[in-house]
C-alpha cells in the first residue's frame, strides 16, 4: 500500500483500525520508516508518558488493574488457606477472604501481581517476597497484621487479618469529624508507621485508602511497601511514577527516579492525607502530575479555606512535613508526631504532671537505698565459677596442647590467646558481680532483670568453656586460628544493656523447651568455635540439623541464632548465593522471633554478601538501611555500628567513592581500636581496607604504613602460614608495585601464592589474585610468555569463581589485555579492552576510575597501532570521566593528559596538545607525579610548543629538562633518550629560532 493518508492515520491513532486494514498497515510500516516515525511521533504527542490516554488528570486514584487472571474459585488452596470469596481488587492485586484451617479463623488473602512482563517474574517475586517478609515483621495495634507470606504460582500472597473496616475516606464522609478527632486518629496511624519505620519498612503509599478505620474505631495502616515492590521495574519512568502509588500523595522524591524514597517520604504523604482530612482538600493546587511537582517544588501550600477551625500551629507542622527537601522535614515520624501533639493549649497542664512524677521517683530511690545495705557477700561467687573454665589447670593443658603441635608460631599464639582470655574473663567477673549487687545489695533492679542478665552472662561463660575445651585438644589448624577465635567471643557489654536484654529470647517455660534451648546453645557455641578455628565444613554439618530441629519446634529466636553463622560459613565456603538465601532466612526468623542482635548482624552480613560479593549494590544499600534500623531498634550498639561502617566503607570503595569510603573506615577503625585494642585483628582488618582506599586516593605512603601495620598484627597473631597473613601480603604488593619495588612484589606474591594453594586449594579466588600480581612482575622482568600463562590461569579461576559478568573478571581481562599490548599483540589487546568497557560501566557506574582506565587503554591500543583518529574519542572519554570527579583517584589524570597530548601531536594539532600538556607539566591535579610522568609530560610539551611554533625557546628548555630526567632513570629509558636526540637533531639550528615575543 501507499504511504498513510489522513483517515488511516486517524484510525490508527484511535486504535480503531479494522483487523484486515491493520495488517496492510503493518506491512507498510515495516518498509516505510518515515510513516512509522510519523505514527510514533503522533502517538507520543497524543499520550505522553505521564499517563495513558483516558487518564487526563493523574490525580485520581489509579484504575483498578483489569483482572486478566481469572478469579480464583471458592475452595482453591493458596498455601494452607482455602479461598472463600473475592472481596475486591486494587492496583496491587486481588483480595479474597479465606479460611485458615490450621488456626480455624478467617483471613484476608491478598494475591499480588508480580509484574506484567514475563521476564521479570523470578526477580520480581523474590523481591516482593522480601518486602512482604519485611512487612510481616511489623507488629503494632495500628498496623494490619500480616500472618503469613508465600508464593502461589507466579504470584506472591499475603495472609492478613480480616478487618471489618471502612477506609479513612469513607469514615470522613460518613459524618462530620471535629479536627481533634481527625488528629487523634492520625496520631494513632502515625504510631503504627513509626513502628514500621523502626523495623526498617517504609510504607511508600500512604493515602486515605490505606488507612482503615475498624468498627471499634481503631485505625490501622495497611499495604506496606507494596507500591514500590509490586512493580520494581517501572517501565514508564519518569512519567508514570510508581505503579500503584498515587501521585497526589507522593513525595517529590518518589516521583524522581534517581532519588531514594525513605521514611521521610511517608511523612510527606502522611501530611498530605492529614491536610486533606482536616481541610477537605489537598494541600497543593494541581491538576496534573507536572503541575503538582511544580507546586511542591515552590512550596506553595494552599492557604487554609476560609473559616477553617484548624489552628495555625497545626498548619505550621504540616507545612514543614510537606517540604520539598526531605532534609527540611522532621527527622523522623516520631518527631512529627511529637510536634503534632504540641498543642500549646495543652502543654502547660502536661508539664505540671511530669514534674510531680519525678519528685515522687526521687523519694522512692532514697528510701530503698537507705534500707539495702551490707549484703555484698551474697555476690562473691563469680570468681569461683570462672575457675572451673579458665583456671590454672585449663591454662596449662592448652599451653601444652599448643606447643605439642610443633608449629613455630604456637608459642606466640598461646601468649595471645592467654592475654585475650584473661582480659575477657576479668571483665566477666566484674560485670557479673555488679549485676548481682544491683539486685541483691542495692535493690536497684528487679529479680527478673537480674535473671536475664545472669542468663546472658552464663551464656558468655559457656562460650569461653567451649573454646578452652577446643583449645585443650588443639591441632595445627586450631592453633593457626586460635587468636582470632578468642577475639571473636561475643562482647560482654550486651549483658549489661537492659534494652538489649529486654529484647532477648523469651525464657523457656517448660522443661522440654529448656532442654532444647540448652542443646541449641551448646551447638551454637561449638559451631562458633569451629568457625573461628577455620573448620567450616564441620561447622556447617553441625548447624544444619540444629536449624531444622529449631524450625520444627517453632523456635524462631533460636533458628535465627543458628542461621546467621550458617550463612556466614556458606560464604566462607565459596557459595555466596546460598549464603545470601540463608542470611535472609536468618533475618526473617530474627525479626519474627524478635532476635534483634541477630537481625542487625545478619543485615550487616548481607551488605557484604549482596554488595561486595554479588555486586548487587542497590540492594546492598538497602540492607545497610535495614541494618541501621535494626541497630537503632536495639537502642544502638557501638560495635555493631562500627562493623556496619566497615561494610559500608567497603561498598563505597568498590563503587569508586573513595572519600566516603575513607570516612567510614576511619570512624570504624577508631571505634574498633577503642573496643578491641590497636593490635587487635579487628583493627587490622579495617586497616587493610583503609590501606586500599589510600592507594586509590593516591596516598601511597599512608597506604604503606597501614598495610605494614596490619600485616604485622596478623603475622604475630596468626603465624606466617595463615591465609589471612598472605592476604595482607597481597595488599602490600599493591603498594610496592606502585613504588616500583618489583623484587619485593615478586617475593611476597610467590610466598602468598604458595600459602593460598596449600590452604585454600588451587581454584580459590585468592590464588588468582596472587597469580595476577606475579604475572605482572614476571612480564616486567622480560618473561612475557610466562606472564601470559600465569595471567590466563588467573582468568580461568576468576571465571570459574565469579562468572563472566563480574567486575573482577573484567579487571582480570583488562590486565591480560595489558600484557598482550606490552607484548605487541595490539589487536587482541584492543578487543579485550573494548569488551570490558560496557560491563565495567554497568557494574561500577559511569564515574568509576576503572572505567576511565579501560577507555584510556583502548585509546592507547589504537595509538600503538598508529590509528590516532580512532584513539581520540577514547582518550577524551577517559579524561571526561576523570574530570567529572572531585578527586584524582590513583593519580590517573596526569597520565591521561599526557596520552591525550601526544595523540593531539600525532594528529598534527600541536596547539591542542600544548593545552592539555600544560596541565600535566603544571601538575594541576595536585597528585604526586612519578618521575616518568614528569619527564614525558615535559618532552611532549616541548614538541608541541615547537611544532606549533608557540614558544620555541621554552620548548628547548623543557626538552633539556626532560632529557636530564630520562637519563637519570636507568636503562629502560635509553631508547627514549635516543629518540629525543634524534628529534633535536632534526630541528633547524637554534640560531635560527626567533626568540619568544619578537614575532
Amino acid at each position: 500500500m501507499a504511504c498513510l493518508d489522513e483517515s488511516t492515520f486517524v484510525e490508527l491513532l484511535m486504535g480503531s483500525l479494522p483487523p484486515a486494514r491493520a495488517s496492510e498497515v503493518d506491512a507498510h510500516l515495516d518498509t516505510c520508516a518515515s510513516c512509522r516515525r510519523m505514527v510514533a511521533q503522533g502517538l507520543r504527542a497524543q499520550s505522553p508518558d505521564e499517563g495513558p490516554p483516558g487518564e487526563a488528570t493523574a490525580l485520581t486514584p489509579p484504575r483498578p488493574a483489569r483482572g486478566e487472571d481469572a478469579p480464583l474459585e471458592k475452595g482453591t488452596a493458596v498455601g494452607r488457606y482455602l479461598v472463600l470469596e473475592r472481596l475486591g481488587s486494587g492496583g496491587m492485586g486481588v483480595v479474597y477472604s479465606a479460611y485458615d484451617p490450621e488456626l480455624d479463623r478467617r483471613v484476608a488473602l491478598k494475591l499480588l501481581r508480580v509484574g506484567v512482563l514475563g521476564l521479570e517474574v523470578e526477580e520480581g517475586r523474590a523481591h516482593l517476597l522480601h518486602e512482604a517478609q519485611a512487612m510481616a515483621r511489623v507488629s503494632h495495634p495500628h498496623v494490619v497484621p500480616i500472618y503469613d507470606v508465600g508464593t502461589f504460582g507466579e504470584n506472591v500472597f499475603l495472609a492478613m487479618e480480616l478487618v471489618e473496616a471502612q477506609t479513612l475516606r469513607q469514615w470522613l464522609k460518613a459524618a462530620p469529624r471535629p479536627w481533634r478527632q481527625v488528629l487523634a486518629l492520625f496520631l494513632d496511624a502515625g504510631r503504627g508507621l513509626t513502628a514500621a519505620h523502626a523495623a526498617g519498612v517504609v510504607h511508600g503509599d500512604i493515602k486515605p485508602e490505606n488507612l482503615l478505620v475498624g468498627r471499634d474505631g481503631r485505625v490501622r495502616v495497611t499495604d506496606f511497601g507494596l507500591a514500590r515492590s509490586a512493580n520494581p521495574l517501572g517501565e514508564d519512568a519518569p512519567g508514570t511514577p510508581v505503579a500503584g502509588g498515587t501521585p497526589a500523595y507522593m513525595s517529590p522524591e518518589q516521583l524522581d527516579p534517581d532519588a531514594h524514597p525513605d521514611a521521610r517520604s511517608d511523612q510527606f504523604a502522611f501530611c498530605v492525607a492529614l491536610y486533606e482530612a482536616l481541610h477537605g482538600e489537598r494541600p497543593f493546587a494541581a491538576a496534573t502530575v507536572r503541575e503538582l511537582l511544580a507546586e511542591i517544588r515552590t512550596g506553595r501550600v494552599k492557604p487554609a479555606p476560609r473559616g477553617s477551625p484548624v489552628p495555625p500551629w497545626l498548619r505550621r507542622v504540616m507545612v514543614r512535613g510537606l517540604s520539598v527537601d526531605p532534609m527540611d522535614r522532621y527527622v523522623s515520624m516520631e518527631a512529627l508526631l511529637a510536634a503534632l501533639q504540641h498543642d500549646p493549649a495543652a502543654r502547660w497542664a502536661r508539664r505540671l504532671k511530669v514534674a510531680g512524677g519525678a519528685a515522687l521517683l526521687l523519694t522512692a530511690v532514697a528510701i530503698t537505698h537507705a534500707v539495702g545495705s551490707r549484703r555484698e557477700q551474697v555476690c562473691a561467687g563469680a570468681g569461683k565459677e570462672l575457675a572451673t573454665v579458665w583456671g590454672p589447670s585449663q591454662q596449662a593443658a592448652i599451653q601444652s596442647a599448643f606447643l605439642a603441635t610443633g608449629k613455630p608460631y604456637a608459642g606466640a599464639a598461646w601468649q595471645r590467646v592467654r592475654r585475650t582470655l584473661d582480659v575477657y574473663t576479668a571483665e566477666w567477673v566484674t560485670t557479673r558481680t555488679t549485676a548481682c549487687e544491683a539486685t541483691r545489695v542495692r535493690r536497684e533492679q528487679p529479680e527478673e532483670v537480674l535473671a536475664r542478665r545472669m542468663h546472658c552472662l552464663d551464656g558468655r561463660l559457656a562460650e569461653v568453656a567451649a573454646l578452652t575445651q577446643l583449645f585443650a585438644r588443639a591441632d595445627a589448624g586450631t592453633v593457626e586460628l586460635a587468636a582470632r577465635a578468642a577475639e571473636a567471643l561475643p562482647p560482654l557489654q550486651r549483658c549489661s544493656d537492659l534494652v538489649a536484654l529486654a529484647a532477648r529470647a523469651p525464657e523457656p517455660v517448660d522443661a522440654e523447651a529448656r532442654a532444647r534451648t540448652e542443646a541449641l546453645r551448646r551447638t551454637l557455641v561449638r559451631a562458633r568455635a569451629l568457625k573461628a578455628a577455620g573448620k567450616y565444613a564441620e561447622a556447617v554439618a553441625l548447624l544444619e540439623p540444629a536449624v531444622k530441629s529449631a524450625k520444627d519446634a517453632g523456635d524462631r529466636y533460636g533458628a535465627a541464632d543458628l542461621l546467621l553463622p550458617l550463612g556466614e560459613l556458606q560464604e566462607e565456603l565459596g557459595d555466596p548465593r546460598k549464603a545470601e538465601a540463608t542470611l535472609f532466612e536468618a533475618v526473617w526468623a530474627a525479626e519474627a522471633g524478635r532476635n534483634d542482635v541477630v537481625a542487625a548482624r545478619a543485615w550487616t552480613s548481607l551488605v557484604h554478601t549482596s554488595g561486595e560479593v554479588l555486586e548487587q549494590y542497590a540492594l546492598a544499600w538497602r540492607w545497610k538501611e535495614r541494618a541501621e534500623a535494626a541497630i537503632e531498634r536495639m537502642g544502638g550498639d557501638a560495635v555493631l555500628s562500627a562493623q556496619l561502617q566497615v561494610r559500608t566503607g567497603a561498598l563505597h570503595f568498590v563503587q569508586g567513592r573513595y572519600t566516603e569510603a575513607s570516612e567510614q573506615q576511619e570512624a570504624a577503625l577508631a571505634r574498633l581500636e577503642q573496643t578491641y585494642g590497636p593490635d587487635s585483628l579487628e583493627a587490622a582488618d579495617v586497616r587493610l581496607g583503609l590501606g586500599s582506599t589510600r592507594i586509590a586516593q593516591h596516598r601511597v605512603d599512608d597506604a604503606l604504613k597501614l598495610t605494614e601495620q596490619a600485616l604485622e598484627t596478623r603475622r604475630k597473631a596468626l603465624g606466617p602460614d595463615h591465609p589471612d597473613v598472605a592476604r595482607a601480603q597481597m595488599n602490600l604488593t599493591e603498594v610496592y608495585w606502585r613504588q616500583g619495588n618489583l623484587a619485593r612484589v615478586e617475593e611476597l606474591s610467590r610466598t602468598a601464592l604458595a600459602v593460598f594453594e596449600r590452604a585454600l586449594g588451587p581454584g580459590h579466588r585468592d590464588v588468582s589474585t596472587a597469580l595476577e600480581m606475579l604475572a605482572a612482575v614476571v612480564e616486567r622482568r622480560g618473561r612475557g610468555e610466562e606472564a601470559l600463562r600465569l595471567q590466563e590461569r588467573a582468568l580461568d579461576i576468576t571465571l570459574q569463581v565469579e562468572g563472566v559478568e563480574s567486575s573482577g573478571t573484567q579487571i582480570v581481562l583488562s590486565n591480560l589485555a595489558n600484557l598482550l599490548a606490552r607484548m605487541g599483540r595490539h589487536e587482541e589487546a584492543l578487543a579485550h579492552h573494548m569488551a570490558t568497557i560496557a560491563p565495567l560501566e554497568q557494574r561500577l557506574g559511569p564515574q568509576h576510575p576503572f572505567l576511565a582506565r579501560a577507555h584510556r587503554a583502548c585509546g592507547n591500543n589504537y595509538r600503538d597501532m598508529k590509528r590516532y583518529q580512532e584513539a581520540q574519542p577514547y582518550l577524551l572519554r577517559a579524561l571526561a570521566i576523570l574530570e567529572s570527579r572531585q578527586d584524582d583517584p590513583y593519580g590517573y589524570r596526569t597520565g591521561t593528559w599526557i596520552d591525550l597530548g601526544r595523540n593531539w601531536l600525532d594528529l598534527k594539532q600541536p596547539r591542542k596538545a600544548a593545552e592539555v600538556l600544560e596541565l600535566a607539566v603544571a601538575n594541576r591535579s595536585g597528585s604526586k607525579q612519578t618521575q616518568g610522568e614528569r619527564a614525558f609530560s615535559r618532552y611532549a610539551l616541548a614538541r608541541a610548543l615547537w611544532e606549533g611554533n608557540l614558544d620555541r625557546p621554552r620548548a628547548l628548555r623543557l626538552a633539556e629538562e626532560a632529557r636530564e630526567m630520562f637519563t637519570g632513570m636507568g636503562e629502560r629509558y635509553v631508547k627514549v633518550v635516543v629518540e629525543m636526540d634524534a628529534w633535536r637533531a632534526s630541528l633547524p639550528r637554534p640560531a635560527r629560532v626567533p626568540a619568544a615575543g619578537t614575532r
Binding site: 491493520a22 570490558t836 560491563p839
Partner: protein, 320 residues
C-alpha cells in the same frame, strides 16, 4: 405535512420543543428523517417506536451541551448517515451521541457549538500539537489550519467535523486529525531527508553486555548475519513492535493504544517478538560458530554457552 414543513425550516426553528399541532397524529418526524437519510423506507407501524428511541437519543445528546440547539431531524439524519448500511437501527446508540451532536452543530456553524468546541476540545489538541515541538510559526500555522479545516471547510471540502464517524471519542479524533495536520506540515516543510533508521542493530550495541561485545568484535560478521536473518524471519507486526519500542521509544501503553489492546497484551507481544528474535539469532549463530569452533578459546566457549542468558538480559534491559 408537518414533517415536510419542519424539515425545510431548520434555519428558522431552533428549539426542540415545537408544539405539535394535531394531537391526534403522533409525531414521527425524527423517525421519518432518520429513515429517509438511511435511504430506505419503513413500515408506518414501526415509526412510533423508532421515534421514541431517537427522541431519547436526541434528549441525552442535547442535555450534554446546554445552549447548543441543533435541529432534531438534522441530527438524526446525520446519525443515520454515520451508520453502516447493513447495521440495524438500534446500533445508533453505540455511537458517541453527544460528541456527534456537537460535531454536527459545530460543522453547521452554530455559535454556541463553536464556543463549546473551542473550550472543550481545542486546548487539549493544542497541547498535543505543542508536544511535537514545531517552530513557533509552524505551531500557529497548524492551529490556524486546524480551525479552518475542522470548522469552516472550503469550496471543495466541507467542514471536516462533519466527517467525525462517532465511533471513538471526539477528543481523540480531533487530536489525531490535528496531529496529522501538524506532522504533514512538518514533513512538507523539512523536505525530510528520508533517514532510513529501520536498522534494529542498535539492539546489539555493545554497550550492554560483555559477552555480546566480545562476540561482536570477534565474530562481527557472523553475528550481524545471524541477527539480520533472524529479524527478517519475524512477522512484519513483530518487527514494527520492536522498532516502535526500541527505535522510536514508545511505551507499552502507547503500543497498546496503537493496536487497540490492553497494555499487558502489548507487553506480551513485545516479549514474544523479542523471544522469537533471540531464539532465532542464537540458533543461527550456533550453527555458524560451529564452523569455526577450532578458533574458540576457553573464554569464548564459556561465552557461547551463556549467550542465551546474555541476549535475553540485553533485551530486557532495553525494556525497562
Amino acid at each position: 405535512m408537518q414533517a415536510l414543513h419542519r424539515g425545510n425550516s431548520r434555519n428558522r426553528i431552533t428549539g426542540g420543543g415545537v408544539i405539535v399541532a394535531l394531537v391526534s397524529t403522533p409525531d414521527v418526524s425524527l423517525a421519518q428523517a432518520f429513515v429517509a437519510a438511511r435511504g430506505g423506507t419503513a413500515a408506518p407501524e414501526s415509526l412510533p417506536s423508532l421515534q421514541e428511541r431517537l427522541a431519547r437519543v436526541l434528549d441525552s445528546a442535547r442535555s450534554a451541551w446546554p445552549g447548543v440547539e441543533l435541529n432534531g431531524p438534522r441530527y438524526v439524519g446525520h446519525l443515520a448517515r454515520l451508520l453502516a448500511g447493513e447495521a440495524p437501527d438500534e446500533d445508533v446508540e453505540k455511537l458517541n451521541l453527544p460528541d456527534v451532536y456537537l460535531a454536527r452543530a459545530a460543522a453547521d456553524g452554530l455559535p454556541a457549538a463553536l464556543k463549546a468546541f473551542e473550550a472543550r476540545f481545542l486546548p487539549e489538541v493544542d497541547a498535543a500539537v505543542a508536544r511535537l515541538k514545531l517552530p513557533p510559526t509552524g505551531l500557529d500555522e497548524v492551529r490556524q489550519l486546524l480551525r479552518q479545516r475542522m470548522l469552516v471547510g472550503s469550496a471543495e471540502a466541507p467542514a471536516r467535523l462533519a466527517a467525525y464517524p462517532g465511533t471513538g471519542p471526539l477528543s481523540g479524533w480531533v487530536r489525531a486529525a490535528a496531529l496529522w495536520l501538524a506532522l504533514d506540515w512538518q514533513r512538507q516543510r523539512s523536505g525530510q531527508a528520508q533517514v532510513d533508521d529501520g536498522d534494529l542493530s542498535v539492539l546489539m550495541a555493545p554497550g550492554d553486555d560483555p559477552e555480546l561485545a566480545y562476540l561482536k568484535t570477534t565474530y562481527r560478521a557472523e553475528f550481524n548475519a545471524s541477527f539480520a536473518a533472524a529479524l527478517a524471519a519475524l512477522e512484519p507486526r513483530q518487527r514494527n513492535f520492536l522498532r516502535l519500542k526500541y527505535l522510536d521509544g514508545l511505551s507499552i501503553d502507547q503500543l497498546g493504544a496503537l493496536y487497540g489492546v490492553h497494555r499487558s497484551t502489548a507487553a506480551r507481544w513485545v516479549v514474544g517478538a523479542q523471544e522469537a528474535l533471540l531464539q532465532e539469532t542464537r540458533r543461527l549463530l550456533t550453527d555458524r560458530l560451529r564452523l569455526t569452533r577450532s578458533q574458540l578459546d576457553s573464554v569464548l566457549r564459556l561465552i557461547s554457552s551463556q549467550l542465551d542468558v546474555s541476549l535475553s538480559r540485553l533485551l530486557r534491559s532495553r525494556l525497562d
